[in-house]
């Protein structure tokens, strides 16, 4: 199984360029293609299904790897994962600037900002019962305890072991989130906006879940459907995202995983074995 991706270290800049030039070349090429296509908007009910250039560049990137075109080998794939962490920084800086420019709204929303962090645990209540009904066993703990980004994946591998069902569940959601998250998360946010129940401020805060790429997808979609609030949405999303980035791991350790374990013990005997898949996989 794929363990946590460790980025390579280089002895000199020349060595880095020698190894990574093809990644830069692809990145520029994909920007050229993806931004030429631009945004595609498809109205759905009262919301909008928006496909941003990031989705095209992500799709093109996927094709280069060992599974399809085989241009990149595993070492280059790992180097690319290190570059994600660099390339996202200017975007995060821009969000920080938006938050600074709208600092009054961030401060006046303080209590809501703090408390909504606990809302990130909402995944457990929504997804764990369904996961058990679908016949998942201990995988469900890893899969459902959080949004499952890099830190959570590392945490599950650390706590339960890399080959444990818990870490496997976490890895599955990590991979699927990376593949479909950019398109789904933004769409979902715009659908919640379309209900008309929720204030743009609340939608902005909810977007910061501790996953930069998901947050950006949500903020970009919300800004399209609520242009008058675009600045404030991104300011609040940035504040919430920063907080989630800091508190996410503690939320998982002290609340998320214990809560998952508790609910698992309570729910699994009742609803866990109703599917054929579940009977077979009893552990």
């Amino acid at each position: 199984m794929a363990s946590r991706q460790k980025t390579p270290t280089y002895h000199s800049l020349r060595e880095r360029i020698h190894s990574e030039w093809i990644l830069y070349l692809f990145a520029f090429l994909f920007i050229l293609i993806a931004d030429s296509i631009g945004q595609i908007k498809i109205p759905v009910w009262k919301g909008t299904f928006i496909i941003f250039p990031i989705f095209f560049s992500l799709g093109l990137g996927l094709l280069t790897g060992p599974s399809v075109l085989k241009i990149l080998d595993d070492k280059k794939v790992k180097a690319a994962s290190g570059l994600v962490g660099v390339a996202i920084l200017p975007f995060i800086a821009k969000l920080g600037i938006n938050a600074g420019a709208n600092i009054s709204i961030v401060i006046s929303s303080g209590p809501a900002l703090l408390l909504q962090e606990f809302g990130n645990l909402g995944t457990i209540f929504l997804s764990l019962p369904f996961a058990l009904m679908l016949g998942l066993k201990r995988e469900a703990i890893g899969a459902c305890h959080s949004i499952n980004r890099e830190t959570n994946l590392a945490l599950m591998q650390d706590m339960f072991g890399a080959d444990s069902p818990e870490a496997q569940g976490s890895l599955s959601v990590y991979i699927i989130g990376g593949m479909i998250g950019t398109i789904y998360f933004g769409f979902m946010a715009s659908m919640f906006a379309a209900t008309g129940i929720f204030h743009p401020y609340a939608l902005g805060m909810a977007s910061g879940v501790g996953a930069g790429i998901l947050m950006s997808s949500a903020v970009a979609s919300l800004s399209e459907v609520m242009p008058a609030y675009a600045d404030k949405i991104s300011a609040l999303a940035a504040a919430s995202e920063t907080m989630s980035g800091i508190d996410g791991i503690y939320m998982a350790i002290f609340i998320g995983i214990p809560l998952c374990n508790y609910l698992y013990r309570k729910l699994e005997p009742k609803i866990g074995r109703i599917t054929k898949y579940g009977r077979r996989e009893q552990s």
Binding site: D35, P53, S57, G96, F130, F198, G212, V219, A238, T242
Partner: protein, 148 residues
């Protein structure tokens, strides 16, 4: 990463932003330059702070906080910072992130296909639940505190 690695990889990122801002939004190179400069300097300082400060905070946390400080009303350069960054379209920095992210998970395409529909449903519920939980609490508290 050493400082020259940061300088180099950030410079590449800056070129990517200029390209995306040009192709996607028709912004000229000179129009984008001040904004790119501001964003890259903040990113570089964030990487520096992460290296110096012995706290287990992610680099993105420093980056976001530095951006906030640079642009908040007490900053002497807030006007310049906000104007310059405003010239960089919101989604322009993201295309390159997507390209790298796609490449970085391209060796997991097979496990994605193998993981099956159960995990796809669970993943969608995980994303929805994480968002919805925060949304409900935020809406409630904003109402109770009279902010909205």
């Amino acid at each position: 990463m050493k400082i020259r690695d940061w300088l180099f990889t950030l410079a590449i990122t800056g070129l990517g932003m200029i390209l995306a801002n040009k192709v996607g939004f028709g912004a000229s190179v000179t129009e984008s330059l001040p904004g790119v400069f501001v964003l890259l300097v903040i990113a570089l300082c964030a990487a520096g702070l992460k290296a110096i400060i012995p706290l287990k905070l992610p680099t993105v946390a420093y980056c976001s906080i530095l951006g906030l400080l640079a642009a908040c009303p007490i900053s002497p350069i807030s006007g310049f910072v906000i104007d310059a960054a405003g010239k960089i379209n919101f989604t322009a920095p993201l295309t390159m992130v997507g390209a790298y992210a796609g490449m970085s998970i391209s060796n997991q395409l097979k496990s994605f296909i193998r993981s099956g529909w159960r995990f796809i449903i669970v993943s969608i519920l995980v994303m929805t639940g994480t968002f919805l939980g925060s949304l409900l609490i935020a809406q409630l508290v904003l109402k109770l505190t009279g902010t909205i």
